[in-house]
Each structure stands twice: as C-alpha cells, then as structure tokens.
C-alpha cells in the first residue's frame, strides 16, 4: 500500500517535471521564433527610423537618471574599497586603473544590463502585455499591420542601440565618481590617477570587449522583455507574472552570459 502510494507520488513528480521541461523548451522555441521574425521584419523599422528613435527615448533616455546615479555611487564605492586594499601594498596610485578596468570590463556592461532589465525591460513587457490584454495587438493584425514589424522590431533595435551607449555612460560617470573620492577626498595624486589609467587601459582588449558584452546583453534583455510581453496571458495576473519573469530571466541570463563572454575574451 505504502509502496504504491510512493510510486504514484514519484510518477506525479516526474510527470510535473516533464511538463515543466516541455513548457520551457516550447517557450525557448517560441522565443527563438519571435527573434527571427523580429530580424525578418527589421527592414521596415529602419525605413521608418522615427519609430526606433521614439523607443530609444523611452528605453534609453528615460533610463539615464537611474544609470547615472547608480554609476556615480558604484564608482565612489570602488575607489574606497580599492584604496583600502591597494594602500596595504603601497600601490594606491593604481586606484585609477582599478576603477577604470572594473567598470569598463565588468561592472559597466553588467550593472547597466541589470538596471536596464529592471527599468526599461519591465516597462516593455508591461506595455506589450497590456496592449495584448486590451486587444490593441489584435486590432493591429485585423488592420493588416504586423505587430512584430510595428511594435516589436522598433523596441528591439532601440534596446540594442541604447544598451552600449548606456554602458559607456555608466563607465564614464563611474570613473568620475571614483576620481572624486580618490583625488579630492583621499588625496591620491591627480596625475598618477589619470596617467596610470591611460597607460593600462587598452582600447581593443578592454573597451571594445566591454562594448561587445553590452551589445549582447542589449539583445538578450530586450528580446526577453519583448517575448514575455508578447507571450503574457491577457489578464492582470498574466501581465504581472510576465513582468516579474522579465527581471528574473534577464538578470540570470546577463550573469550567465557574462561568465561565458568573459571566458572567451580571456582565452582569445
């Protein structure tokens, strides 16, 4: 009796696990399909570039405040922590290099992507989810206008274009924050701060790799946000769950991709 109950419980668990796996694979396939359709319909978006510009304003420009303020504090904390460690080895002049490399290589692209997913990604998911709930996407289809060409593609390219620009700004403002803590506050030599940075930060290896990372994160975060909105059940609960999923999946994807990209970049 106990044995059969246990077997039933195990069978139920396996069935649940299998159903979840099938659902995940289905969603992955649906996401890939949306991605290829978005690329297919992108020509129309570029012909009407004002649609992309409008979305750059909503996703990129409107994210500026949170990006700049966060970057400033991240840069300041980096300088404080970096100085605390470097002074033990008598290398406090290297603080500029530490702040710049940390920001350009890692923190700039990663933190920008995480903030972007929280600010712009959720807005994209909620907007598209609500458009679906209020039948705006159906109305567009019934007018013989493709929602992927008109709604998805401009938002996708706006995200892809905005992310490297935001990451660059993040790094620049972070370096400024680090400078204000290291030089006027702690008293590190002004010349040493900038000259060491100039000597040790390589354009190809550090800056371009950081930009490549932010470009990949831009594709991933924007596509996840768009897919979750497009796939959201047309109810209040469905949109709310989709918005949460955008943040969770985007954050995990960014951190995972960061490890993979960093591994490849260090090897190459």
């Amino acid at each position: 009796m106990i044995k059969s109950t246990l077997l039933i419980a195990v069978a139920r668990m396996l069935r649940g696990l299998g159903a979840r796996m099938i659902d995940r694979i289905w969603r992955l396939g649906a996401g890939a399909r949306l991605f290829f359709l978005t690329i297919f319909y992108s020509g129309e978006s570029f012909r009407r570039f004002h649609l992309i510009l409008r979305e750059i304003y909503f996703t990129g420009v409107m994210s500026l405040l949170i990006i700049i303020v966060s970057a400033f504090f991240v840069g300041m904390v980096l300088a404080l922590q970096g100085y605390n460690t470097l002074q033990k080895y008598g290398s406090s002049e290297a603080i500029g290099v530490l702040v710049a490399l940390s920001l350009v290589r890692e923190l700039g692209p990663v933190v920008t992507a995480l903030l972007f997913a929280g600010r712009a990604g959720t807005a994209i998911t909620a907007e598209i989810g609500l458009m679906k709930t209020t039948e705006q996407l159906s109305a567009m289809e019934m007018m013989a206008v493709s929602p992927i060409a008109r709604v998805v593609a401009p938002r996708f390219w706006a995200g892809v274009i905005s992310m490297p620009i935001l990451a660059t700004l993040f790094s620049m403002v972070g370096i400024l924050g680090g400078y204000l803590v290291a030089v006027p506050l702690i008293g590190v030599d002004d010349g040493a701060f900038w000259s060491q940075m100039q000597a040790n930060v390589d354009f190809r290896v550090d800056i371009v790799d950081g930009l490549i990372k932010s470009l990949v994160f831009g594709v991933a975060c924007t596509m996840i946000a768009l897919f979750e909105g497009f796939d959201a059940p047309p109810t209040a609960e469905g949109v709310s769950r989709a918005t949460t999923r955008t943040v969770v999946i985007s954050s995990l994807t960014v951190l995972g991709l960061d490890f993979i990209l960093t591994s490849f970049m260090l090897v190459v």
Partner: protein, 269 residues
Amino acid sequence: MNLNIVEIDNLSFGYKGRLLHKGINMMFPRGKVVAIMGGSGSGKTTLLRLIGGQIKPSHGEVRVDGDVVHKQDRDGIFKLRRKMGMLFQHGALFTDLSVFDNVAFPMRELTDLPESMIRDLVLMKLNAVGLRGASGYMPVELSGGMARRVALARAVALDPNIIMYDEPFAGLDPISMGVICDLIRSLNDALGATSIIVSHDVKETFLIADYVYFVANGEVAAEGTPHDLMHSTLPFVHQFVHGEKDGPVPFHYPAANYQSELMNSKTND
C-alpha cells in the same frame, strides 16, 4: 459577382477538446446589416475571428469575397483584411496615440497618401462620428462611448467592404448606445458596406439589423428578420428575446444533486 460577401459553410471549430461550433452555415449579403446573437460563451466573437482569419476552422470554410480565408498565406490574409474593418468590444484604441493618430494609423500604415490628404480624411471620419472636436485628445481622456466612436472612425478609415462589430453596445449609457446604433446603420448605408454585428443586446440590434442569426449550443438555433424572431415561438428564441430567467437555457449550471452535495462531508478545498 457573388451576392454574399461572406459565406460560412458547414463550419466547425473547437479548442481544448471542446467543440464550440458544429456545422454552422451563414450568409452575409452585400449591403446588409446582419447580426449574430446568442448567450455569453456561445462563440459569437470566435466567428468574427474566423472570418478575419485570426484562427482556423476544424472543418468547413469561411469565404470572404469568394476567397477561402484559411487557405490564404499571410499576405493573402492581410490582403483580405484590407477589405475589412473591425470595432472591438472596448475599442482597442492605441493608448500611446492621440484620437487623430489612431484614425490616421491605418492610412499611414497601409497607403502612400500624403499627410495633407490624411489630415482631411481623418477629420472627415471624425466628423462622421461627431468627434472632430476631440481629435487632439488621448484615448485615456475619452468616455466609453466616445472611445467606441473613435474606434468606429478608425474601423471605417479605409472605407472597408465589410465592417465587423464585436459587442458594440456593451457597457454604454442609453445616449451613447443610440448614437452607436444610428452610426452603424448610417455608415453601412453611406459606404455601401456589409456590417456583421455580434451582440446580445436585443432591442438595439433588432432596430438596425436586416437579418439575424441566433447561435446556441454550437449551432444556428434560429434565423430570420428581426420581426420574425420577435414573434418566434421557438423556446430558446422566446427566452432570449424576452429576457426570461428560466427556459431552454436553465438558471442553474449543471451540477450534482443539491441535497446529496450538501450532505457530503467532503469540502471543495
């Protein structure tokens, strides 16, 4: 030229194991206002989605202007949809666009008309629904009735041959309802279009429809002119038209025996 612009032939449709329509036949003659009526959940809106090619039938076919809808590829369906305009239940106005831009949307997306001509056409459409003065408003600033009228102006923006209305009277005050009712009839006659109204509002629909189909249990339960159906002795039609609480459509949803369920110690948790 075929007399009927839309024909539904032996159509069956189901999803999730439930058969919603079982061999439905309907004709929508050119220039007429035809209503599809029935209770909530009877699949009226699904019929509009089948006509628009948003979903495919399990059996049978829907023909629009002689073309079988579900046999078209994406371009073919888009070509057919250019002959159609649709008013959604809650308007489905684009919330990020103004009233003017909402009406201009299909013109800008589907035609190469110059902006000056689009401006004139939009103002003419808005004037036809009495909202030229509200062209600068955003959808959030409109009442339910106004939003429905703007959506109607958008639906007829490209002078379609077929105009579909999904519950056009739902949730409107009596004045707005009268206005929409009048607009459906007058726009249909002015454009020489065919209107398909899905509704369960008997009074308003009977006032403007030339012909009515009643859908129940997945089939066409009755059809005829509003006058015929008003005096129909068919039990379902009689119950529906006169709004009777009990009849062929029972008050109680099918359930287990009341007494035995109350006596049963099992809870629903």
